[in-house]
Amino acid sequence: MNKPRVPIAKLFVACDSIDIQEQTLRRPVTAIHPMVGDDFPTIHGELWLYALLTDGLGKHDVQLEFGFDLSVDENISLRTTSRRTIDMGTDPIAVHGLPIPVRNLPLRQPGYIDIKLLCDGVEVARTTLRVRRLP
């Protein structure tokens, strides 16, 4: 039996939504902001992350680590989510898309959010989102 091994992420991006049937990403985003008429602090209702994983075998635990408010060093807030299990199958060269909906994301202030994808506790991908005020 093949031993599980941590996959490699070839892509890790944020977007508005993902069409699971069509396997397409809708409107990739690099920045998020409060809804019109809203202000900080606020809650961002839904954001999708997409990871393209390969070179993995078997089942793995994935989780996200969020670093909030990166514009102010003293106030970095780290939050690690609970774990979810994914199955990478038995073919190590297979490529698996992993849609990750993130709901009720807290936005305290404008700045940056650093998002890490952890697989069995190991960082496999990282992306940064800008949090900005509407002009």
């Binding site: 993902i18 699971i20 396997q23 809650i43 994983l53 390969t54 994935v62 989780q63 996200l64 909030f68 003293e74 106030n75 807030s77 780290l78 939050r79 690690t80 989510t81 609970s82 979810r84 994914i86 199955d87 073919d91 060269i93 297979a94 490529v95 698996h96 898309g97 992993l98 849609p99 990750i100 909906p101 993130v102 709901r103 009720n104 994301l105 807290p106 305290r108």
Partner: protein, 161 residues
């Protein structure tokens, strides 16, 4: 003779979505508490000490809010005087992610408070404890380090439970 070098077309699939929701009541394990075991020198000015410890709770509460929580409160039922020590149990108003915030606070306290403990310990009078319990949160996170450095002789041990 043909040689098979490998595959250039690989299987591609979409895994089922894995969802994370920040509104989960308990996202990082069960609700945690920050237990402060406070040992004071026998000759300590108890009124000043009560004020200082109250300030410490204020600052930790402010830290909690700055790190995404809603402040901390003293668990009066779990807090107690134990010989020459005061055990102060703090709980988060917002339990979501409270363990990670408490672990960061404990680390901060360890960095500043466990060095240079001074003198024999005394016993905290009841009225001093009451003064500590009456403190309302209103502090500044940047003052934590300087506050703890000025709190000479008071030994604070922090543990997340």
């Amino acid at each position: 003779m043909s040689v098979k070098y490998g595959r250039s077309i690989v299987e591609s699939s979409m895994l089922p979505p894995v969802e994370f929701d920040f509104a989960e009541t308990v996202a990082a394990g069960p609700a945690a508490s920050l237990n402060l075991s406070i040992q004071v020198p026998a000759a300590a000015d108890t009124k000043a000490l009560a004020r200082d410890l109250g300030g410490l709770v204020q600052l930790l509460s402010q830290l909690d809010r700055d790190w995404g929580g809603a402040g901390v409160v003293i668990d009066e039922r779990a807090s107690r005087i134990d010989g020459d020590r005061l055990l102060l149990v703090l709980r988060a108003r917002d339990v979501r992610w409270s363990r990670s915030r408490f672990e960061r606070m404990a680390k901060l306290l360890r960095e500043f408070a466990l060095e240079d403990p001074a003198g024999p310990a005394g016993v905290l009078p009841e009225d001093v404890v009451q003064q500590i319990l009456d403190v309302k949160p209103n502090g500044s996170p940047l003052d934590v380090a300087s506050f703890l450095k000025n709190c000479a002789g008071v030994r604070v041990q922090a543990a997340v439970v």
